[in-house]
Symmetry: D2
Subunit: 383 residues, 4 copies
Amino acid sequence: MKSLNVGMIGGGFMAKAHSLAISGGVNMFFDDGIVLNRKMIAEVNEEMAKDAARRFGYEKYTTNWRTLVEDPDIDIVDIVTPNNLHMEMAIAAANAGKHIICEKPLGRNSNETKKILAAVEKANVKNLVAFNYRKTPAVALAKKFIDEGSIGKILNFRGTYLQDWSADPESPLSWRFKKDVAGSGALGGDIGTHVIDFAHFLVGKIDEVMSMSKTWIKDRPIQTGGLDTLGNKSAENTERGVVDVDDEISTLLRFKNGAVGSIEATRNAWGRNNFLTFEIHGEKGSLYFNYERRDELQVFFAEDGDDRRGFKTVYTGTPHPYGEGLWPIPAIGIGYSEVKIIEMHDFLQAIIQDKECEPNFNEGHKIAQVSDAIIESSKNKNG
Amino acid sequence: MKSLNVGMIGGGFMAKAHSLAISGGVNMFFDDGIVLNRKMIAEVNEEMAKDAARRFGYEKYTTNWRTLVEDPDIDIVDIVTPNNLHMEMAIAAANAGKHIICEKPLGRNSNETKKILAAVEKANVKNLVAFNYRKTPAVALAKKFIDEGSIGKILNFRGTYLQDWSADPESPLSWRFKKDVAGSGALGGDIGTHVIDFAHFLVGKIDEVMSMSKTWIKDRPIQTGGLDTLGNKSAENTERGVVDVDDEISTLLRFKNGAVGSIEATRNAWGRNNFLTFEIHGEKGSLYFNYERRDELQVFFAEDGDDRRGFKTVYTGTPHPYGEGLWPIPAIGIGYSEVKIIEMHDFLQAIIQDKECEPNFNEGHKIAQVSDAIIESSKNKNG
Amino acid sequence: MKSLNVGMIGGGFMAKAHSLAISGGVNMFFDDGIVLNRKMIAEVNEEMAKDAARRFGYEKYTTNWRTLVEDPDIDIVDIVTPNNLHMEMAIAAANAGKHIICEKPLGRNSNETKKILAAVEKANVKNLVAFNYRKTPAVALAKKFIDEGSIGKILNFRGTYLQDWSADPESPLSWRFKKDVAGSGALGGDIGTHVIDFAHFLVGKIDEVMSMSKTWIKDRPIQTGGLDTLGNKSAENTERGVVDVDDEISTLLRFKNGAVGSIEATRNAWGRNNFLTFEIHGEKGSLYFNYERRDELQVFFAEDGDDRRGFKTVYTGTPHPYGEGLWPIPAIGIGYSEVKIIEMHDFLQAIIQDKECEPNFNEGHKIAQVSDAIIESSKNKNG
Amino acid sequence: MKSLNVGMIGGGFMAKAHSLAISGGVNMFFDDGIVLNRKMIAEVNEEMAKDAARRFGYEKYTTNWRTLVEDPDIDIVDIVTPNNLHMEMAIAAANAGKHIICEKPLGRNSNETKKILAAVEKANVKNLVAFNYRKTPAVALAKKFIDEGSIGKILNFRGTYLQDWSADPESPLSWRFKKDVAGSGALGGDIGTHVIDFAHFLVGKIDEVMSMSKTWIKDRPIQTGGLDTLGNKSAENTERGVVDVDDEISTLLRFKNGAVGSIEATRNAWGRNNFLTFEIHGEKGSLYFNYERRDELQVFFAEDGDDRRGFKTVYTGTPHPYGEGLWPIPAIGIGYSEVKIIEMHDFLQAIIQDKECEPNFNEGHKIAQVSDAIIESSKNKNG
């Protein structure tokens, strides 16, 4: 069985998710026929790097990501760092001829993503940007229904990503609230890009945006050292740092194919945890998805008949996308682990079949362009 | 017991809803101490007027609404006609010194509502515009929680009104699709105004809008005679008439108090029936309501504690607004009848206590102004 | 138009519900062509009777129900009193040749219902026992799907009726907790009979039961005078009376047609308000209904296809049972008013068409027999 | 870091789930400080064993499970075979001094489980029976609320396990339908035992049962070779084999502490996939869980106040049981992988802290005793 060596840059919770998929998940679930070795992991200091290697099972560790990128033993570079580091790392990895998985968003803005894209295209390496939520079987099923014409021509798309882990003004100042690290706020620098990805994946190219944004919480307690902490826990630190990105953004959309839509992303939505949703109306039916109940796709088909039409809750299982590799009956459970395993499986298939990853860096770049446009549109409208 | 005579103009399904409330509902539920007599009903021809009187229990009928308005026996005029007739009727009723209930929207646009408002203010009669959905106990409970500060300062509002009764291109050309009758489309002329009413009622004055609209179905089978028919039933008629208003409209909002928001109204949302919703996030909690499940308000209070926070489904009953007059335990059932009974009760209380109705024509006028602004903003953006 | 005079015995919240249907609801909704006059109402004392007449719009009142029953002007007697009075009243009404509507349960036990049944059969009057919940359009739709064979042969039935209005030990001692008035407890004397009615209506005759019951709260504060109060409100009275019926009962069922099932009824289910549900599995599909969301029927059809099967939420409207008389689009709202209006409509249709009411007293008697069997089965098992 | 060697007996989908947890999941999530090596896997023939080793990453394989059990390098034996093999394997493993994880149910009946229990008690090895669903964070949270007294004294428990993977009579004859392999049917031999486990875990000892059972589908197409197949897929084989166990069973329960309850387990519930639920009512509140929406626990606390009480949807995350090891915010996703990782973590903690596993074989034996009693009670009542 062929084997490939992976180098992971970053040791936070995303490293956990990716490493589980690498450590065994893929073959156990999909039998791609490639063994992935956890070869090396990089973190910012000795202690963190060593600990990450131990926790996530990497043979070696380094505090210098360039060492990892340039190691001839490494076949795949997996980048799970804050956004501001993606460009330099991804370009270096491409130049070193490595296949690349990069966490979303691909860069802080489309200037960065353009350069990253150029590098991988020049190097001709496989490249996947980790918009993992489209890998959820229920989302893949939505795509299948659309492609089959089951809901007809798409009229509109409404996407939301609502969270509350930072709704408390005493929650820590994550790097996600710093423009120099994140690039932008709720939408461009973080969660909103997943919704743009859904819009592109399911509906198509976005032509026009009209946006508003807000920064509700203007400073937060500074975090002290270590890995970035998400969450509502009030920090003990009394020193506060400035939030210089938005924490809520809304936009109207016009798609190239005529459909209209909207996106809303906020981190101040008390009670919403990972409320990543879309609702799509077509000429012949509708679709609704909420990642908080990710085993399910809601579908409505007009043709079902006057007296028996209604939104149907389809639990994804073996008859649905990726079903052959997952659990034998629906609702045994799709979790984040399963979603990330599917993502890695698709990445390996791109290598095996020598085809483009979905979504690749080209897609990541287009999403950054939309994100830039939304932020530009909301300028001077941020209260 | 005091008694008042009601004259109803219009004999469609709204006449049914209002007449049930009048015929007994109010005293049975709230004991307002006023007996309402169903005195006279007006429809466009003898047959329809006579039948409406029989069905809805009116003593007399007329084919001339002016006869009704000018009858000295009539105390209250209730207008349930298409939008284009509201102005003339309401002004005549005001001039005749009658208290007025008028179905929403108050007029086809703010030019009309301004004149209507002037008339009732001059006549000093009670005036209520029938944005009945805010009378739903769960919506009134949302208002109470907001007023009590239970969710803190409001950050945003997201309202939708999604329907599918006309999603089929073969569904009949209701007057709701004709600009000269309805005034405007999905938003201004019909369902969207309920969402603006929610926004005003729950959040406050709207300062700025940015909108997009679409007319997806550009012609429909012409209806032949009689009352307007809603519904997905394909018309038999093969002659088609032009739809000259939008059937989908979306807007971003900025409120005077700093909150932001959005409204989406569409008649092409397969699977959504009367999907009138709002979600409101505040600094200390959140609220969600969906009229399709109108016995329930979803509430989230941040203060509930880290390990036991979550959206709570509150079924409205005796401890909630209007609860003293409704059913003895929650979930026995709030239907349209109950909502309309509450509306009539509030109207009677305004008469009894000589106070303003909520919402009155001034509010109806402000809603028309917002509606006009949304439509103006969407100009040239209607594909 | 033909008119019939109604005499109502009882003035509590059930009188309200019935009176609204009588006062106009039926013709407004279904145009049955019969005008119902609210002729006379009876309550236990002058003050209550007078007030009930005023509130509910009856021409006359009496403190002697026999006066009402024997009045030659009365065509229909509507009995909405506590259970212990049903037998005497219903028999007297039958003997006087009146058509009868009687609130459920028909009697305190099958000895009583047998006598009531004999009286109406002898008198040959129309008789309806007010198991109103089967009149909910979504329940009628379930019946239609079953009758059409859409879910195939029925395998099982699981019904629940869970409430919490008396879960607080300080809530008042309603007559529903007294054996001499109610006959029995949660099941036989009250809510559980609705579930037995569902089982009979949807599945068929019950052959065998195995039951357990409990009386969790053994005494409660005595109510002082007036109408019976439901609800969680703690009574002010410190004197307590004994609860001598169960407040929770569960049973397994075996139907004559081979299906199996269960019923659970409890008044101690914190958080459940009017949680009257059934789930039915057939060889080809399934049905689920919860009255707390009564506009909806959940349906699953196996034939829908491997990749698009799921429970469908059907909102009842014009294409469904009773739809022609209700609101023009689904989810405008089915409340208790609408359910009771449908019930009265069915009663009038039985008169007009000279056919049996559904459910009639024969059905009410069969339900009492099942109820008796369940209580008998649970004897010595009540902790 | 300490390391332990695992031997896995069985190579089906349960081997996948256990192996993922072993391969990295545990340390990645909980940092238990023990490295688990996938040492050896056993299957029934060379091809299957070799393939399982490759897929799931085991160093060695064998077709003789005794070789595995007796290998001195093996520290932990993990049994994921059909039920009929558990006894022999578990006793052999215990005699060889290995710690043991055994899939549920522990044996085919309590005669078997008694012997297994005796063996592990004599050998003094750690023993865990894989009732994994109680490891779901939301279930663990329910247990915490109960133990803290948040819902007061428990009054009742209603558990269901409804599935439809074999509702189609053409679905294959899994070993789960054969008495000699499974021991018993829907309840004892398979899914129902999870519900008994919930009842024991959350409420306590069961004293009395009253049951009914059915075998709806009396024969099914025989499977040909290889791993057992679940699912609705019609088998191609035309030869049919007899189903000699029930496929639906219901029981009433009486707990030692006075609470009452019911359990229903069926494999014929079209539309229910992995519908493992419980509803618990206590004197002060209620709990509801449905594994199909396993990120959520529904909780109701009476003390929340009259106007703001309702079932609350708590999404489990860092403030809840096991939260410190899982994902940083709720609803990122609990899948089967996460549940099995938690189970393995608890097993390792029992080894590290030298304490009893939960649930251990003693608990597995008690569950078998209840299961036997339920089946006995339903005898002669199986139609």
